[in-house]
Every structure is written in structure tokens, then in C-alpha cells.
């Protein structure tokens, strides 16, 4: 299955956003996939000790040493996703923040990093009625359809290959 763009979603474990992004042919960057990598790895088997010594170091790339360990631990998982981001959908005022999205400082840092990355970002409000849900879905669909259908990196690689082939022929 080929995806058009990697879309970061916030809340990062949202069912609605992950489904909508996948439904319209893009790849949602979600916490679940990161967690799968952690929990199905043979070396990790006993929470709460489900974090390796390498993870806080990875988190240090995004948050300073004096920042609480929880933020750095979360950023060790969320940070690599932000680096892959090609577009983002941020939902403001989600009703609940539990579990992996239960840390407000991490959420603020995540949103800041995504906004400052310079990728197309859609910011919408979490719907509370049917009419708001209609607007919510319409905005997201329009945004997803407006995303580039071909990846620029792949185009560059294709061009490089073409030029290399031409040189070979010459």
C-alpha cells in the first residue's frame, strides 16, 4: 500500500484522525506504531521499566536535562515522528488527555515543534455537535486533498536516476 504523505496528528493516538488520514490515502504518524515497536521488542517486558537507557538520551534532543523525565521519555517516542512529518492536523481542546497524551508540557512542546517545522498545518477545534462535526470533517478532507500527491524527495531521486542513466548512455 503506498501512501501520499506522512501526516502528524494531534492528539497523537486519536481514532478519528488516524482513520480519516488513512481513509484519504495518507499515512498517519501515530503513537500506537511507536508503542508497538517498544512492546513487541524482546528486550522489554516489564512495565514500568519499559524504557531503555537510550530513550532519555534521544529525548534530550528535544527537551533540556532539567525538563521532567516524563517529557523527555515521551519526546523519545514523539520526536522521531515529528522529524518524519510532511503535514500535520492539530485538534484544539480535545475532551480528554489520558495516558500517552496526558502530559500538557509534552503536548505544548509537540505542537510548538510541529508548527515551527514549516510543514502545512491544519488547526481545528474538537467537534461537540453534529454541525461542528460536519465542518470538522469537511476541513480535514479539504486539507488532505490539498496535500501534494507526489513526494518531492522521490521526484528528486527519480530525476537523479534519470540524469545518471543519461550520463551512462552518453
Amino acid at each position: 500500500m503506498s501512501f501520499l504523505a506522512k501526516v502528524f496528528i494531534y492528539p497523537i493516538n486519536s481514532l478519528i484522525l488516524a482513520d480519516l488520514v488513512e481513509r484519504f490515502g495518507h499515512k498517519p504518524l501515530t503513537m500506537m506504531n511507536q508503542i508497538r515497536g517498544k512492546v513487541t521488542s524482546l528486550s522489554l517486558d516489564s512495565p514500568p521499566i519499559n524504557i531503555t537507557p537510550e530513550d532519555p538520551k534521544l529525548g534530550l534532543k528535544y527537551a533540556a536535562i532539567e525538563v521532567p523525565a516524563g517529557v523527555r521519555g515521551r519526546m523519545a517516542l514523539i520526536g522521531p515522528l515529528i522529524e518524519q512529518t510532511e503535514a500535520a492536523i492539530i485538534v484544539e481542546n480535545p475532551p480528554t488527555d489520558f495516558g500517552c497524551v496526558g502530559c500538557n508540557r509534552t503536548n505544548e512542546l509537540t505542537k510548538y515543534l510541529v508548527r515551527s517545522k514549516g510543514v502545512p498545518v491544519l488547526e481545528v477545534k474538537y467537534p461537540e455537535s453534529d454541525e461542528e462535526a460536519r465542518d470538522f470533517v469537511t476541513k480535514i478532507v479539504e486539507f488532505l486533498e490539498s496535500l501534494p500527491k507526489e513526494k518531492p524527495e522521490e521526484d528528486e531521486k527519480a530525476k537523479e536516476n534519470e540524469s545518471a542513466e543519461q550520463e551512462d548512455k552518453e
Partner: protein, 147 residues
Amino acid sequence: MTETKKEEITKYIVISSDKVLPSDAAMKIYESEFPVTVKETCFGLIVSGAKDDVQAVVEKIRQLDKNHIFVKDRGFPPGDERRCRASRGGGPRPGFHFLREEVQMLPAIGAALDELEAKECVIEKSKTKCRLKTSDLEKVIEEELAR
């Protein structure tokens, strides 16, 4: 290629449909010959297995009522001792609260997707060329003459 086939993934299928029940969807998967593990839950199904098989099954189930069946990935495999409430002494498992909040919103999201689909159909129909009906032509002439 062999690595991607061996990769095990788990997906939630959340059903918010008037036509399809979780048991119907589970029966549909049992009927199919895909070697996947299915767990029926109050909100839908948890499907686990090889990546290709799970994606094929999920697509098949989604087609039963595509605007009212929602899918997302799950990190932990079904029945995992670290998350399964059977081994944790009961209570909702971590992660269920957020899902429950979102499930309440799914009927509205599904209706919005239905409306969007209906609008697209209307636009496509209006784009297709067809012969002008005589009744329509009469109306146009009458409007022109009335000026």
C-alpha cells in the same frame, strides 16, 4: 519482503453502524480464510496477525459500511498481560477512556462522511453531459419570453 510478511500488527475496528454489529463483522472474518486472531469487544473488534492479512481483513470489513466503521492501530497485541484487565484485576484498561470519548463522536463523524459522499455524487452527476429535456427547454424559452 519476508520480513514485512512476518511483521505482526494489531488493529482496532470500531463499529458505529446501524447495519453491522461487531458479531457480524467477526463472522465475516471467520468466513474469510485469513489467518488472523479476532477478539470481539463492546465497541467492535481487535484483529491481530500478519500485516498483509490484517490490512486485507480490515479493508474487507470496512466495506460493509465504510462511513461508519473506523480503524486505528494498536500497539499492544490482544490479551497482552501488561494491558489485559483479566490479569490486572479488572477496571477499564489504560487507553480505553480516550477511545470511549471518541466513540461518542463517531455517529456525527459518520453522518458527516455520508453527507460529503452524497455531495460528491451530486457534483459528479451535474458534471456528466446529457441531452436537454424538452420540458427543460420549454422552461428556458418561457423564461426568455417572459423578460
